[in-house]
C-alpha cells in the first residue's frame, strides 16, 4: 500500500498524456521569443481591417484628448546650490523685534524655504517675555499684501529711486522749512539719522528742520503729567507682576493700553490661585474692554468720572471724607485692598487728559508705587506723541501755512487727525510732500513723492523701547518689491549714503555703527542671534512733586468714549483680513465698528438681540457738531449714559489702495461700491470726532438719536450667557478655593449606580462607559491640552496664531453673519446673568428663570473660554461618519482625513462642543472670497503653511492639535534618539498665549505639565457628563473677589446638606 496520496493538477497529468509530457518543463506554453515572432514571414501579410483601424484611431484620439485634460505641469525648481541653513521642509527661526508705532514685542519668525509664515513671541529674550498680541501675529500676512507699494511714486506715477531721491534732495535744498512728521521713533539709528539731518539743515542759521512725533493714539498726557510731577517727559515702566492690587481707571492695559505685550505677561503670572498670592484687580471704565472683563471687581463710570474716582480714592487714602457715585462700592473695596498693599500696588489711568494722569501719579505716589511697581529709571520710550506741536502743524497745513517740504513717515494724518480732511486739502498747497509708507494710503496718495518702505520682515531696524534694552529687527526675506528701508531713505536724502538696491547694506551698516557707539564691547552677531541686549542705565533720581491739577474733563448728559479694539487698534491693520475677521474679545463682532450701549438703556428704543437675519438699529451720534451714523450694539457692562465707538475703522474712504480686504464685499463676490462708485470702507472713521486741546482727547460729550434702518451685524456669538450650566465654565472665588475642598469649587458630576448589594450609590461619571475604552493610559503618547480659565484674558492671540498656522480660510462679513466663520479655535465669552451667582452657578436651582438667564446683568462678570476640538477618546463625531473620514489616532488625536470626507456634516451636528467647521464653498477659489481670502491671491498664498493642507469645498475641518507640529516634534526626538520631552511640543495657540494659559503635552508622560494640570483640584472637563472623555482639561476660573451669594451656595448650603 502506498503511504502517500498522489496529487495531480489536471486529468492530463494523471493520465500522463504525450502532450503533457511534452510541455511538462515549460511553465508558460508557447514560448515564442520576440525575435521569432518578428522573423515570421507571414507577419507582413497580416492586415489591419478598416474597422480595426478606425477603432485604434478613435482610441488614440480619445486617449490623447484625455491626456490633454490633465492639469498643466507645475515645475518645482530645486535649489541649484543649497543655501546654508535652509533645508526644504525644515523651518528656520529668526529672533527679531516687532514695532509698528504702537505695539512692540520681541518675536520669533518662522520661515519656510525663505518665506516668513509665522510669528510668535520670544520667550527667552526681551522684556516682553513672549508676549504678543493678535496684530503682531497677523502682521506676517501684511508682508504678502498685494496692495503694498512695489516701487516709488512721483506725482502718482511709477518712478525710480534715483528720480525720487533727486527730486527730494532738490526740494529739501531749496526749502526754507522742512518738517518731518513721524510716529514715535524708538530706533536709535533713526534718531541718529534724524539728528544728523537736523544738524545738516539747521547749521546754516535759522531753524529750518523740525521733527514732530505724532501717534494716531496719543499718550501725551502721561508724559505731560510726568513733566509736571517729575520734571521729565517720561513714562515709567510698570510691573504688574509685583502688584498685589491693581486699580485701572479706564486703562485697557491687557489689550491696547501702552505696552500690553509686556503687561499681559506680567498680569498673567499673578493670576494663578495656586501661587502664594494672586493679584486683585479693580477696574473702572465706560466701555467693557478686555481688561475690564478680567477684573475682579468692575465699576461702571462715565469718562468724566475718572477724575472723581481718583480724587475720591486719594481723599479716602488720606483719611478724608469724600462723595462718590454709583461706583462707590467698588472704589471702597479697592481702597481697602490698596491700604493693605502699599508699595505693592499699581494705579493706571487710560485717559489722555493731563489732569487725570496727574491724579493717577498722585495716587501712585501715595501708595508708594514709585520705585516698587513703577520704575522711573527704566522708562518706556514708546508713545512720544507731541499733541500740541502736531495740532499746530495740522492747523498750519490746513490754513495753507505748511512747511515747504513735509516728510511723513509711518503716519497717516489724513486719516487719523481730527481735521484730516482739512489737512488733506492743505497738503496740496505744500511744495513737496513726501510719504514714507508701505501703501498708497489716505496720506500717501496725496503726496508728491511716495517712498515705499520695507515690510518689517524685510528690514534691518533697531529699537530701544525701554531705556535698558536695545533690540534688533532683522530681515527674514529678501525684499519682495523695489522698496527701501526708511532709514536708508533718510540717509540718502541727507547725503550720507547711496542707495544700495535690493541687497542694500546701508541700514545694516548704519545700525551696526549705532550699536558699536552705544555698546563698544557688544557683539553684533550675538545681538542679532538673541534679537536684543540689556544696556546699563543710570539712575535719574526723579522724585514726585505735587503740581496744580490741569483741567479735568467736564461731565455731560451722554458721553462717548473712543476706544481701540484689540484686533484693529488704530486702523493700520484695516487691510488685514485675519484681524478684520477676528471676533472682538468682548462683543464677538467682526468686520465692523458700532456704537456700544448698555442693553438696559436700549430697551424700547433699539433692538437688543441680533442674529443672521436681524441686524441692529442705526443711530446718529453728534459730537461737537460732527455726526455719523452707526449701528447700536447692546454691550452689557457699558456704563449708563455713555456710549463707545471703536477707532481704526472707515479706512480708505476715498478708495485708496490700502488692500483688498479693507473694503466691504458683496453677497456674491466683488467689492461693494458706494453711490459715487467708490469702494465702501468698513465701519466709520471716528478720529474726526476726537477732541483737540492740550492733548487729543478720546472722550467727549455726545448726543445720540435713533435713526431709521437696521444694519446687518456679523458676530460669531449671538447668545451671551451660559444659562446657569455648570459644566461648561466653572468659576469660584479665591477664598472658596483656598479654604474649602474640591467639592466647593469644582464638584464632579455623579451618577447613580447599583453597588454589590443592590443599593443605589453615587459614582463619578468616569466610572460609566458605554463601550470598552480605548486603551489610552501608558500606551504611547496621548496628547492633550490644558486651558487655565483663570489666566486666560481672552485677548485672541491664540485664535490668530491658529489661523496663521493652520491656513484657516477667511470667509468675510457676509459668511460670518451667517454663522460660518472657520476658526478652529474660538474664544467663547460668557456674561453672568442676574439669575446666576457667578457664570454658570444658578442662584436658585428650583426657581431658575430661563428668560432672565438669557439676559446679561447690567454690569456682568465675564468668562473667556478658548474652545477647540476636544479630541474626545469616545468621540461622537467618529462613530457617525459613514465613510470613517474622522478617526481616532493611537495617540489620542481625533483626526480628520480631508480627502476621505464626503461632507455629510453629521459629525458637526453630533459634536457637543460645536467645534467642527465645514467648507461651505471653495474658499480658495470661489469668487465670493477673492477679495478677502489670502489663499486666492498669488502673493497672499505665500503665507500658507506648507505643512498644512488647504481644504477644498465640501469637507469638514477642525483643530488637529497642530498634528504637523506633533509629527515634527516626534521626528526631532527620534533623530536625536530620545523620547519626546515635556515642553518640546507647542501648538500655535500655546505659543501665542501671553499668559501661558494654554499648556499642551503628552498626558502619558507622568511628569509632564499637562498631566500635572489635569490632576490639579481645579481641573475639570467641559461637559464631562456627556461621557465623550475629552483630551482637553480646563482649570476653574478663580476670581479674587468677594461673592457672598456664591459662597453661600457653594459652602454654607453645601455643609447643611
Amino acid at each position: 500500500m502506498e503511504m502517500s496520496k498522489k496529487y495531480w493538477k489536471g486529468i492530463d497529468e494523471l493520465k500522463q498524456t504525450p502532450e503533457f509530457i511534452k510541455h511538462k518543463e515549460q511553465e508558460f506554453v508557447n514560448q515564442q521569443t520576440v525575435e521569432e515572432f518578428l522573423a515570421d514571414e507571414n507577419l507582413a501579410e497580416s492586415s489591419t481591417a478598416r474597422r480595426d483601424f478606425l477603432k485604434f484611431l478613435g482610441f488614440s484620439v480619445a486617449a490623447a484628448t484625455l491626456a490633454a485634460c490633465e492639469a498643466p505641469v507645475t515645475k518645482v525648481v530645486p535649489y541649484g546650490v543649497k543655501p546654508e541653513n535652509v533645508t526644504p521642509g525644515m523651518p528656520t527661526w529668526y529672533a527679531s523685534t516687532y514695532y509698528d508705532g504702537s505695539s512692540y514685542a520681541s518675536i520669533m519668525v518662522k520661515t519656510r524655504e525663505g518665506r516668513p509664515i509665522f510669528i510668535k513671541g520670544n520667550k527667552d529674550f526681551g522684556f516682553t517675555k513672549g508676549g504678543t498680541n493678535p496684530q503682531i501675529i497677523a502682521s506676517v500676512l501684511g508682508l504678502y499684501d498685494s496692495a503694498r507699494l512695489a516701487h516709488p511714486l512721483a506725482k502718482g506715477q511709477k518712478a525710480s529711486w534715483s528720480t525720487v531721491d533727486a527730486g527730494i534732495a532738490a526740494a529739501i535744498a531749496g526749502a526754507k522749512k522742512v518738517t518731518l512728521l513721524s510716529n514715535t521713533i524708538i530706533s536709535p539709528s533713526l534718531k541718529r539719522a534724524i539728528s544728523q539731518m537736523a544738524s545738516n539743515m539747521n547749521g546754516e542759521g535759522g531753524v529750518k528742520f523740525e521733527h514732530i512725533q505724532y501717534d494716531a493714539i496719543s499718550y501725551a498726557a502721561m508724559r505731560e503729567a510726568n513733566l509736571l510731577n517729575f520734571g521729565s517727559r517720561i513714562i515709567p515702566s510698570y510691573d504688574f507682576s509685583k502688584a498685589k492690587t491693581i486699580v485701572s481707571i479706564g486703562a485697557d492695559f491687557l489689550s491696547t493700553w501702552l505696552l500690553p505685550t509686556e503687561f499681559a505677561v506680567q498680569y498673567g503670572s499673578r493670576r494663578n490661585p495656586e501661587a502664594d498670592w494672586m493679584s486683585k484687580h479693580y477696574h473702572f471704565e465706560s466701555v467693557l474692554t478686555v481688561t475690564g472683563s478680567n477684573a475682579d471687581a468692575r465699576g461702571m463710570i462715565k469718562p468724566s468720572e475718572e477724575a472723581d474716582v481718583l480724587n475720591y480714592m486719594i481723599k479716602r487714602m488720606n483719611g478724608e471724607a469724600a462723595t462718590a457715585g454709583s461706583w462707590k462700592d467698588v472704589a471702597e473695596r479697592a481702597i481697602s485692598a490698596l491700604k493693605v498693599s502699599k508699595g505693592e500696588s499699581i494705579v493706571v489711568a487710560g485717559s489722555n487728559n493731563i489732569g487725570i494722569q496727574q491724579l493717577a501719579n498722585q495716587l501712585n505716589n501715595l501708595l508708594g508705587a514709585y520705585g516698587t511697581t513703577l520704575d522711573l529709571n527704566n522708562t518706556i520710550e514708546l508713545h512720544q506723541s507731541e499733541d500740541a506741536k502736531t495740532q499746530t502743524l495740522a492747523s498750519n497745513v490746513a490754513a495753507g501755512n505748511g512747511p515747504d517740504v513735509l516728510i511723513m513717515m509711518g503716519v497717516n494724518p489724513v486719516y487719523s487727525l481730527p481735521n484730516g480732511a482739512a489737512f488733506a486739502k492743505g497738503l496740496s498747497k505744500i511744495g513737496t510732500t513726501i510719504a514714507i509708507s508701505g501703501f498708497e494710503d489716505e496720506t500717501a496718495s496725496l503726496c508728491t513723492y511716495v517712498c515705499p518702505e520695507h515690510h518689517q520682515l524685510e528690514n534691518w531696524a533697531d529699537y530701544r523701547a525701554k531705556t535698558n534694552e536695545y533690540a534688533i529687527g532683522q530681515p527674514t526675506i529678501r525684499p519682495l518689491h523695489n522698496t527701501s528701508s526708511a532709514l536708508e531713505s533718510l540717509l540718502v536724502w541727507n547725503g550720507t549714503a547711496q542707495r544700495g538696491g535690493a541687497d542694500s547694506a546701508v541700514a545694516y551698516d548704519y545700525i551696526k555703527a549705532t550699536f558699536a557707539a552705544m555698546n563698544p564691547s557688544g557683539d553684533f552677531n550675538y545681538l542679532t542671534h538673541n534679537s536684543c541686549t540689556t544696556l546699563d542705565i543710570e539712575s535719574n533720581a526723579l522724585a514726585f512733586s505735587a503740581a496744580p491739577i490741569k483741567q479735568l474733563p467736564k461731565s455731560a448728559d451722554t458721553e462717548v468714549v473712543f476706544y481701540q479694539k484689540s484686533a484693529i487698534g488704530n486702523g493700520q491693520f484695516a487691510n488685514n483680513p485675519w484681524l478684520q475677521e477676528m471676533p472682538d474679545p468682548v462683543t464677538k463682532v467682526t468686520w465692523d465698528n458700532y456704537i456700544t450701549m448698555n442693553p438696559v438703556e436700549m430697551e424700547g428704543t433699539y433692538a437688543t438681540t441680533y442674529d443672521q437675519e436681524h441686524g441692529l438699529n442705526l443711530a446718529t451720534v453728534s459730537v461737537n457738531g460732527k455726526s455719523l451714523t452707526l449701528p447700536v450694539y447692546p454691550l452689557p457692562g457699558q456704563a449708563p449714559k455713555t456710549i463707545g465707538i471703536a477707532l481704526g475703522y472707515g479706512r480708505g474712504a476715498n478708495g485708496e489702495k490700502i488692500g483688498k480686504a479693507a473694503f466691504q464685499t458683496k453677497e456674491y463676490g466683488g467689492h461693494a461700491k458706494t453711490e459715487d462708485g467708490k469702494l465702501t470702507p468698513i465701519g466709520a472713521n471716528v478720529f474726526g470726532l476726537v477732541s483737540t486741546g492740550a492733548t487729543f482727547l478720546y472722550s467727549a460729550a455726545a448726543k445720540i438719536t435713533p435713526t431709521e434702518g437696521t444694519y446687518p451685524i456679523a458676530a460669531t456669538q449671538i447668545h451671551h450667557t451660559v444659562m446657569g450650566r455648570d459644566s461648561i465654565v466653572r468659576e469660584t472665588t479665591l477664598s472658596i478655593f483656598k479654604n474649602h475642598d474640591k467639592d466647593a469649587f469644582n464638584e464632579g458630576h455623579k451618577l447613580q449606580k447599583l453597588d454589590k448589594h443592590g443599593e443605589h450609590v453615587e459614582a463619578p461619571v468616569s466610572e460609566f462607559d458605554l463601550w470598552a475604552a480605548h486603551p489610552v493610559e501608558k500606551i504611547g503618547h496621548r496628547w492633550g491640552i490644558s486651558i487655565d480659565l483663570s489666566s486666560c484674558i481672552g485677548c485672541g492671540s491664540c485664535l490668530i496664531a491658529c489661523q496663521s498656522e493652520n491656513n484657516v480660510p477667511v470667509v468675510g462679513k457676509d459668511e460670518v453673519r451667517r454663522g460660518r466663520e472657520m476658526h478652529w479655535l474660538r474664544i467663547d465669552r460668557y456674561f453672568a446673568s442676574d439669575e446666576e451667582a457667578a457664570v454658570g452657578v444658578k442662584k436658585d436651582k428650583e426657581n431658575f428663570n430661563y428668560d432672565n438667564a438669557e439676559k446679561a446683568a447690567l454690569n456682568p462678570s465675564v468668562v473667556h473660554m478658548p474652545l477647540m476640538c476636544h479630541h474626545c477618546n469616545h468621540a461622537p463625531c467618529e462613530t457617525v461618519c459613514p465613510v470613517a473620514a474622522t478617526t481616532h489616532s493611537n495617540e489620542g488625536l481625533n483626526q480628520m482625513t480631508y480627502n476621505r470626507c464626503i461632507g455629510t456634516r453629521y459629525c458637526a451636528n453630533n459634536c457637543p462642543y460645536k467645534v467642527r467647521r465645514f467648507n461651505w464653498f471653495n474658499y480658495p477659489s470661489y469668487k465670493k472670497f477673492t477679495e478677502i481670502n489670502p489663499a486666492q491671491d498669488d502673493l497672499g498664498r505665500m503665507v500658507l503653511n506648507p505643512d498644512v493642507t488647504v481644504r477644498t469645498r465640501g469637507v469638514m475641518e477642525k483643530c488637529s492639535l497642530c498634528v504637523q507640529r506633533i509629527q515634527a516634534t516626534k521626528l526631532v526626538a527620534k533623530k536625536e534618539a530620545r523620547t519626546v520631552n515635556d515642553g518640546d511640543l507647542t501648538t500655535a495657540c500655546s505659543d501665542a498665549c501671553p499668559t501661558e494659559a494654554i499648556v499642551v503635552g503628552d498626558w502619558n508622560d507622568l511628569k509632564s505639565m499637562i498631566r500635572e494640570k489635569s490632576e490639579s483640584t481645579r481641573a475639570y472637563q467641559a461637559l464631562e457628563e456627556v461621557g465623550v472623555k475629552p483630551n482637553v482639561w480646563y482649570q476653574v476660573k478663580v476670581r479674587n473677589e468677594e461673592n457672598a451669594v456664591l459662597e453661600h451656595i457653594k459652602v454654607s448650603a453645601h455643609q447643611q446638606h
Binding site: 459668511e815 454663522g819 459613514p882 465613510v883 456634516r905 451636528n909 467648507n919 465640501g954
Partner: protein
C-alpha cells in the same frame, strides 16, 4: 368566492360588471388626456425644473447656498428627507401589511399608494445625496472593494444604515409595485389598438397570459414580497430615526424615536394618500371604487397613528422633565417656548389636535374635511421633523455656539422643486399606468360590490 357580511358597506358602488371595471380603469389611459392634465403637468414640470435648476446651482457652488451654519449642519435638507421617507411609508404598509391582514379595501388604493411611495422615496433619496459636501465621491458610502487600501465604510454610522435601509426599501417597493402591475398591463396590452402602445405594454407586461399558473405564481410572489416588505415598513423609519436617536444631542438622543417615527410616517403617508386620491377619484371618475368608506378607513388609521404620535410628544416632554438632565429639559423647554415656539406649536396643533377630530363620524366621512386635514397633517409632519432637527441643534450644549436657522431661497426652491417633481412622476403614472389594481378589484367585485350585495341571490348563499 369570499363573501362579506351584508351589513358591511360595499367597497364597490353602483352596478359594476367586470367589464365596467376594466373600462373605468383603462379609459383614462386610452383616451386623450384632458386639458386639465396638461395644465397640471405643465405646472408641476416648471416647478420641478426650477428645483432641478436650484440643485444644479447647489452642486456647482457648494452647500453654502443653503441657510445652514456652523451650529446647524442639517435643516431643510434632512427635514425634507425624513418628510418624504415618511410619506413613502403608506404605500408599503397598504400593500404589504394590509395584504397580510386581508383588508380588501386596500385594493382600491394600493396601486396609487405604492406609486406615491416610490416617487416619495425618489424625492427622499435626493436629499441625502445633494446634502453631501462632495456628491461626486458619495459612492464611498457603498461598501465596495476599492484601491484606497483597506479602506472600508464605517458600519457604526447610522447614515450607513440609512443607505442600506432606503435602498432596500426602494427596491422591494419597486418590485412589489411592478409585480402587481403586470396583469393590469396585460389587460391594457390586450385592449391597445395603436402598435406603439401595444408594443410598450406588451414589454411591460412580461408576456402575461392570465393562465392559472401565472395567477398562482402571482399570488405567491405577492405574498412572499408582502412578507419581505412588512418588516421594511418598520425598519426604514426606525433606522432613519437612529440618525437622531444614536447621537448625543439633547432632543435627538431619544429611545422612543423608532416607534414614534414609524407611527408618524404612517400618519403622514396616509394623509398624503388621502390628498392624492381625493383629487384622483374625481378627476378620473373613480368614485365608485374609492369612496367614503375607504376614506373613513384611512381616517381611522390617521387617527390611531396620530394618537400614537401625540402620545410620543407628550411622553418626550414628560421624560425631559422627569430625567432631571439639564440639557434635555432645556431642549424641550426651548422647543415649546424658545425662538422656534411657532414651529413647535404648529406641529402640536396639526399633529395632535387634528387627528382627534376623526373621532367624530361625520367629520371622518366628510371628503372635504378629510382633504383639509390631510394637508394639515403633512404640514404638521414637516414641522415635526423641522422641530426635531433644528430646534435640537440650534441650542444644544454650549450656549456660545447657539444659533438660528433661516432658510435661503435655494432651500425653499429645492423643497418646492421636489414637490413639483413628485407630481410630474405621479401625473405621468396617472396618465400611463392603471391607477387601480383592476384585476385585484375584480376579485372583490362579487363579494363586496353594491349590486351583488343588494341582489337577493347574495343572501341565499348564506
Amino acid at each position: 368566492m369570499q363573501k362579506e357580511a351584508a351589513i358591511r358597506e360595499p367597497l364597490i358602488l353602483g352596478h359594476k360588471t367586470y367589464h365596467d371595471v376594466t373600462e373605468d380603469v383603462c379609459r383614462p389611459i386610452e383616451d386623450k388626456a384632458p386639458k386639465m392634465w396638461y395644465i397640471l403637468f405643465g405646472i408641476a414640470l416648471v416647478i420641478g425644473l426650477y428645483g432641478v435648476g436650484s440643485i444644479m446651482y447647489l452642486l456647482g457652488t457648494g452647500v453654502g447656498v443653503w441657510g445652514l451654519n456652523k451650529t446647524i449642519g442639517w435643516a431643510w435638507d434632512i427635514t425634507n428627507f425624513v418628510w418624504w421617507v415618511g410619506i413613502g411609508h403608506a404605500g408599503t404598509l397598504i400593500s404589504a401589511v394590509l395584504l397580510l391582514f386581508r383588508q380588501k379595501w386596500r385594493m382600491a388604493i394600493n396601486r396609487s399608494a405604492e406609486a406615491m411611495t416610490i416617487f416619495a422615496v425618489f424625492m427622499a433619496g435626493t436629499f441625502p445625496l445633494i446634502h453631501m459636501g462632495r456628491l461626486w465621491v458619495g459612492y464611498w458610502v457603498m461598501p465596495i472593494p476599492n484601491q484606497f487600501g483597506s479602506l472600508w465604510v464605517n458600519f457604526n454610522s447610522p447614515l450607513l444604515w440609512d443607505v442600506f435601509a432606503i435602498s432596500t426599501y426602494l427596491s422591494v417597493s419597486l418590485v412589489f409595485w411592478y409585480i402587481g402591475l403586470i396583469p393590469d398591463f396585460a389587460t391594457i396590452r390586450d385592449r391597445a389598438k395603436k402598435p406603439l402602445s401595444k408594443k410598450m405594454y406588451s414589454i411591460l407586461s412580461f408576456g402575461w397570459s392570465g393562465r392559472a399558473k401565472h395567477w398562482n405564481r402571482f399570488e405567491l410572489v405577492s405574498l412572499v414580497l408582502a412578507g419581505l416588505a412588512t418588516p421594511l415598513v418598520f425598519s426604514v423609519h426606525s433606522i432613519v430615526s437612529f440618525d437622531f436617536a444614536t447621537s448625543v444631542i439633547p432632543g435627538w438622543h431619544t429611545t422612543i424615536f423608532p416607534p414614534y417615527f414609524v407611527a408618524g410616517a404612517v400618519f403622514s403617508g396616509f394623509a398624503m394618500v388621502q390628498t392624492l386620491l381625493l383629487v384622483m377619484r374625481k378627476a378620473m371618475a373613480l368614485e365608485a371604487y374609492i369612496h367614503t368608506k375607504h376614506v373613513e378607513y384611512m381616517n381611522i388609521v390617521i387617527m390611531v397613528t396620530g394618537s400614537i404620535v401625540g402620545t410620543a410628544y407628550i411622553t418626550e416632554l414628560f421624560i425631559s422633565w422627569y430625567s432631571g438632565v439639564e440639557y434635555e429639559s432645556y431642549a424641550f423647554l426651548n422647543r415649546a417656548t424658545g425662538p422656534y415656539w411657532w414651529a413647535y406649536w404648529s406641529m402640536m396643533t396639526c399633529n395632535v389636535i387634528s387627528p382627534q377630530l376623526m373621532w367624530i363620524r361625520r367629520l371622518r366621512r366628510s371628503l372635504l374635511f378629510t382633504f383639509f386635514i390631510s394637508i394639515v397633517v403633512n404640514i404638521g409632519m414637516w414641522f415635526e421633523r423641522y422641530v426635531i432637527i433644528v430646534t435640537s441643534i440650534h441650542r444644544d450644549y454650549v450656549p456660545a455656539a447657539w444659533s438660528m436657522h433661516f432658510p435661503s431661497h435655494i432651500d425653499i426652491a429645492v423643497y418646492i422643486g421636489t414637490i413639483g417633481l413628485f407630481f410630474v412622476f405621479f401625473l405621468l403614472f396617472a396618465r400611463f399606468f392603471p391607477v387601480l389594481a383592476l384585476n385585484e378589484v375584480k376579485s372583490i367585485l362579487k363579494g363586496s360590490g353594491q349590486s351583488y350585495k343588494e341582489s337577493p341571490d347574495y343572501h341565499k348563499h348564506h
